[in-house]
Chain length 224, copies 2
Amino acid sequence: MKKILIVEDDLDIHNLIKDILEKEKYMVLSAYSGLDAISLIEKNDIDLILLDLMLPKIAGEEIIKKVTDIPIIVISAKISTEDKVNSLTIGANDYITKPFDTNELLARIKVQLRMNKKEENLVYKDMILERTTHNLYINKEKISLTKIEYQILEQLLLNPKEIITKTKLIVLLNSNNNNNLIYTKQYDENSLKVHISNIRKKIRNITKAEYIESVWGIGFKLYD
Amino acid sequence: MKKILIVEDDLDIHNLIKDILEKEKYMVLSAYSGLDAISLIEKNDIDLILLDLMLPKIAGEEIIKKVTDIPIIVISAKISTEDKVNSLTIGANDYITKPFDTNELLARIKVQLRMNKKEENLVYKDMILERTTHNLYINKEKISLTKIEYQILEQLLLNPKEIITKTKLIVLLNSNNNNNLIYTKQYDENSLKVHISNIRKKIRNITKAEYIESVWGIGFKLYD
DNA sequence: TAATGATATCAAAAATTAGTAAAATATAGG
DNA sequence: CCTATATTTTACTAATTTTTGATATCATTA
């Protein structure tokens, strides 16, 4: 869950933005002055800042200069090119003028957060499948997976409530070895069974909990 | 010197943008169709793409989807929120509508190039990769790298927690030699593993610590 | 509940990939 | 044109994964 800080002293606009973001499941932090903002930034691990320029006490520009490692989108009533260029030059990542379009704001937020669904880790119960490293974690303990084991678990975790058919998983196995042109259901099923068995064994080594359920005659799914 | 690719079929606009960029000392590459663009992107190490959406042969949107590792600023006559949101969602980093203000364009270009953090030295644990000299330092000791060795390490250090796939690295090798037009996975993999081996040997000469981890069947990453 | 077919596990064989050294080729600088 | 350096190819060994086949277990239904 991404944390977004809204820095805006106009209450109406502030709450409007807050509602929009919370509907999109962002965690929202609120600052109504530049000083508030600085203090919140220091105490929290914030992913993105939405910043008004005209603020009491400390001007927005000061915040842009101070904050170098968190992306900042300026949302301002100042529509002049000079203001845009200035903000962007001193460190802002994007600049939106009021009144703004909700969908455009959300799209520009996503750009800054780089919310590529492809890169998000997959979580199911105590399991975390790290997609960038191909590691599986259960209760913080690391399990290293082979390529095929990873692919099988990825399929299961992408649709945690669905049954993944044996056929679908076998297609996955065969997409690795281009040489194996002959599809023999019997042998490939055997191979799949061994992979599933090996994954279960690796998980058994660190926890009693069962994760992969066999669906008789069809395939596999994660336990509810 | 940063390389910017302009993808725009309207000659007047194309040359206008080109003039602006060249005055700012950017190196400009020109594509007048989507197909041109794809081919130029494959053969050159481009830092930023300025993209018109309405193109002959291949639509701009296709290019956005295809190119995932170069920042893209869309410059379009389409002013609707839907178009903006769509482009930003499928992968564009910014969206400017025509007619655009020159200074704002330049400021937004700088934002994208800055975010690409291409100039900072890369640090990981005891390693410092100096991007201006292509030298690697481990505990202040200098290791000089060849061009390819540098590029491989750069990829690894740019995303220290991620697996860099063999395919990605092989594309890198091939982008150097334009003569090697035939992509033979087997031979290129051989070459890649020799480079990795050579990097490891150079590091071994000055420290026992291991830095590059092999991810079986997929690629390489830095040790946690 | 016995028969049948599907699933689970194990260990060894087969296949694939990784790592290294050395030779061959290409490139750059004097 | 020669030399030094960088890169690619070749050839081989080592390490790891995947498949196979034998055997055991489990679920379903007649």
